[in-house]
């Protein structure tokens, strides 16, 4: 009985340690969709977002077409999965803001963080972020309007990776 208990603790510790190695916890994502003004269109997006098991609930502002996706505990989805869901409904993402905590001492301008097969690049960071939950805007193509993306490519020319399109590579800035 006692050895079982120790085994359990050891297993739990192992899980905890490997889990801690490199993690990001996205608690919610605020998405503003573009190209629509009707509630039926919003509903199409709503139904797409609701179809994921990781999603706990969705808050909707129909007047601004803003969807706040709340994830279940220790569950989240990659930004591109949410973007694809909006596009499947027939629309596009105009803005996506992640509320997340990244396991790294500080996040400064040009910090790169690899979490599983995803790379987060932090750009345009004016004040370094300590280990805290912060709101980050996704700046990649498809996460901002086409117009805005063109502008961003120009203004972020000093970050050479920004204009390259790699769907597992995200560029984030703090809000």
């Amino acid at each position: 009985m006692k050895t079982l208990h120790i085994k359990f603790v050891a297993a739990a510790l192992l899980v905890l340690l490997t889990g801690v190695k490199s993690y990001s916890q996205i608690t919610k994502v605020k998405i503003m969709a573009t190209g629509l003004t009707c509630s039926m269109c919003s509903n199409a997006i709503n139904k797409q977002l609701k179809s994921f098991t990781e999603v706990d609930s969705i808050g909707t502002d129909l007047n601004t077409n803003t969807f706040t996706v709340y994830f279940k505990k220790d569950n989240s989805l990659q930004p591109k999965v949410l973007k694809n869901a909006v596009e499947k409904a027939g629309f596009f993402v105009g803005s996506m803001v992640l509320t997340a905590k990244f396991h790294t001492p500080t996040i400064e301008d040009n910090t790169t963080l690899k979490v599983d097969d995803v790379t987060y690049n932090f750009i345009d960071i004016k004040t370094p972020v300590a280990h805290a939950e912060t709101r980050y805007r996704v700046l990649d193509k498809g996460f901002v309007t086409q117009k805005e993306y063109k502008k961003l490519v120009k203004s972020y020319s000093k970050y050479p990776g920004y204009a390259t399109e790699n769907e597992n590579d995200y560029y984030l800035k703090t809000l």
């Binding site: 190209g35 629509l36 009707c38 509630s39 039926m40 509903n43 139904k47 499947k88 027939g90 086409q146």
Partner: protein, 268 residues
């Protein structure tokens, strides 16, 4: 009565932007990927050639294959000869190839094609692939949405083939250009509070045709009102009126009642 109950059983739809959920024309936007829309269209048209009127029943199923491609199959029933009977069917596909979306606005373009099969007796010069003629159609549609108003226009080439039991008459032109212009506006609500709110859209659509061989044309106007219930079901009421025609048509003026219901995320 039997058909009426079928219609009510199948009730109601959904599609993309409500303002562009036109009643007799199609916007450049598609239905959501993975959704299945079931629509039952009914029309009662005044018969131009003899007394009385013609009743048409058009059940349709629309499927969003992916975000850019949707397909639709339709069945055409009418009481043209001895009671209500199946006159034909059609297949329609639309590919959205261009989108520029911004906050509460978009401009989209799509290419579409239609193939219809029909076994009705051909009694008019107008080519009607929605229940009168066998044939095919290919065209382009562009739609602009600005806040609560959608404007859409399409042009297509139409070619009539022989109907199964009746050859297309030699003395009639068998190819035509179809053109449409549609405007839709969200009238209610002014501000959204929930998905349960009924939306009301007002629309005005123009549909025209010119037979390429002889230049004969018609132009119809179709005002309509649309109710969207629970952000999932749709009721369209429309009235079609001929504005101009230089060709012989079996029917032109009449009323439409279309009911549609959309099942979201049916396929992945």
């Amino acid at each position: 009565m039997k058909y009426l109950s079928i219609v009510f059983l199948l009730l109601v739809s959904f599609k993309i932007d409500a303002q562009e959920l036109f009643v007799v024309t199609e916007p450049a936007s598609n239905v959501p990927a993975g959704s299945i829309g079931v629509r039952v269209g009914q029309s009662l048209m005044k018969n131009q050639l003899e007394s009385g009127s013609m009743y048409n029943l058009t059940p349709e199923v629309t499927w969003g294959i992916n975000k850019n491609i949707m397909v639709r199959t339709s069945a055409f029933l009418s009481n043209q000869e001895n009671g209500l009977g199946l006159k034909g069917g059609g297949f329609y596909a639309k590919y959205r190839f261009f989108s520029v979306d911004d906050l509460q606005s978009h401009f989209r373009m799509a290419a579409f094609g239609r193939y219809s099969y029909n076994n009705s007796f051909i009694n008019q010069e107008a080519i009607d692939l929605m229940g009168g003629n066998s044939g095919y159609e290919a065209g382009l549609v562009a739609t602009q949405l600005i806040h609560k108003v959608a404007i859409s226009s399409s042009a297509s080439y139409v070619r009539a083939l022989n109907n199964s039991d009746y050859s297309f008459p030699d003395f009639l032109g068998n190819s035509a250009v179809n053109y449409t212009f549609s405007v839709g506006k969200l009238m209610y609500p002014k501000n959204y509070t929930s998905f349960k709110q009924t939306n009301i859209n007002a629309m005005l659509e123009f549909t025209g045709q010119t037979i390429t061989e002889n230049g004969k044309s018609y132009l119809d106007v179709v005002p309509s009102i649309q109710f969207i219930i629970n952000s999932q079901a749709r009721i369209d009421l429309a009235y079609k009126k001929e504005l101009y025609s230089s060709m012989q048509r079996a029917t032109s003026d009449g009323v439409f009642l279309k009911l549609e219901y959309t099942f979201f995320n049916v396929t992945k």
